[in-house]
Amino acid sequence: MKNLDAAGSNSLLEVADLEVSFASSAGIATVVQGISFTVARNETVGIVGESGSGKSMTSLAIMGLLPPKAKTTGSIKLHGEEILGASERHMRKLRGNRMAMVFQDPLSSLNPYYTVGMQIAEAYKAHRGGSMRAAKLVAVDAMGRVGISDPQRRVDSYPHQFSGGMRQRIMIAMAMCCEPDLLIADEPTTALDVTVQAQILELMSQLQNESGTGMLFITHDLAVVSQVSQRVLVMNKGKVVESGTTEDVFSTPQDPYTQALLDAIPRIDDPIRALKKVEMGMVSEA
């Protein structure tokens, strides 16, 4: 569709040596330490790791939404174009249009004051312009595509009239309405129960197949990542400790941290155990 790749490679997003640090009175805290990865069109890359491992900071860095006091170095390229350090104005054009984001908590991600239709329409109109009426039609269509029944009627409903799963569908509709090239999903299923989670994952991969969107899927849930992604990055303490195809990482984990994580997945035939302790030295060497 859009072949803007300068290098001729088919990678949509290229992150190289990304480093994010915060200066505080206690010194400099580096929360992301020189990570590199790529996402291709129609590919899903999973980032897994525990809380505080730098997953979300990575995604916010890509969107250019880090707080101003964060110091970011390295390179982030979207379609070969460097976007790290791009002007706020330029980033605003990219956000929601070329790259979009789905957040963890669908309950608080929607503005309680507006109807869901209004919110999808606004997101569309911000980039594509046109009349409110036309945007509203796009919203109805988008709601239909994410599997909301009777979108014609539900378009005028308020967020509190939807269940959690439905709200996450709305968020996905909002993120996808401008047909972005890259979708960053930051723990999109964490706040949902298991059955709804499965439906949302199904929906996301279905939409991805239709549009060819590249997806960066951030989660701490290994089961989810094994379902959706082709490649996986395992992050710990701001570093990528292991990366590879999902199959390789899951079947033959090399890093002790990854092994510990996989070991910690509860099994129905096994008694409950605590997370195996990983020696600090082993992790930082990797």
Binding site: M63, L65, R92, K93, L94, R95, G96, N97, A100, M101, F103, Q104, D105, S108, S109, L110, N111, P112, Y113, Y114, T115, E122, A123, A126, H127, G147, S149, R153, R154, D156, S157, Y158, H160, Q161, F162, S163, G165, M166, M171, M174, A175, T195, V196, A198, Q199, E202, L203, Q206
Partner: protein, 326 residues
Amino acid sequence: MSMLPVGLMAETGEVTAEEGGGTGPNRGRSTTLRRVTTAMLASPAAMLSALFIVLIVLVAIAAPLLVKLSGWDPFQYDDTAINADLGGLPNLPWGGVSAEHWFGVEPQSGRDVFARIVYGARVSLSIAFSAAAITTVVGVVLGMLAGFLGGWVDQVISRIMDFLMAFPSLIFMIALLSALPAGNRPVLLVVVLCIFGWPYTARVIRGQTMSLAQREFVEAAQASGASKSAIVFKEILPNLTGTIIVLVTLAVPSYIGTEAALSFLGVGVVPPTPSWGQMIATAVPWYATDPMFFFVPGLFLFLTVLSFTVFGDHLSRAIDTGETSK
């Protein structure tokens, strides 16, 4: 797609159950409005206050008409209603209440109290309403700027607010108003009330904006490419509506009170323009011989301030219940 329909049915089922009453798709804002109205209608105190507020506002608007009806304008002297031999006390008992002068007459001059109350309402309400409108606009804008932008903008605005709130404002107002030329006193009063009034609105708005700005829908709006001004005015401001309405209804009585206090102290509205506080001040030397003259403006001032306060309190409670249950 194979597994979707089943799940969807489960979810839509859930949604219809949620709808309960089945009042159709367009609930949301209209339900909030309806819920608040129902709560207000159910409370006799709130309804009585509302009734009194409406009455006073109508009286203030229709003042020239009412005065025509009663036959006396507020500046007209009536020598026949007072007794010069008694130092100007009204001829009739109860402050001279009669079919001619409905609320009695002013001692010494014989001016009609009803007409002065009616015109006084005009002055008091227009000063209080304008001051409330201006402080709300200024307070909301500065409060949102401080809360949303944070950093040095917040520092500057917050320090100014601290300074103004810590200031002995009444003393300063008295000093300022007595030093300034009388000129257009009502306008001066509004300006002075605004200078010291806006921090009270801004402080609340700043706090609420800070907590709203942390909400994920603001981040979501940012992630979909919304500009800062769009976030402030389209995402945050509408969510502040309830707070702003309550702040306005509670600001009005405090300005009515302050205006009355300043006029009472002789630095407010200049005679012969009537104002309630000034009438009370004039009545002080007569409280023993003509208590009615003191009582009438006092009662109006008291009831007006009480009505606004009770109404504002009930409104804030009615809106809050909805917010917490959301």
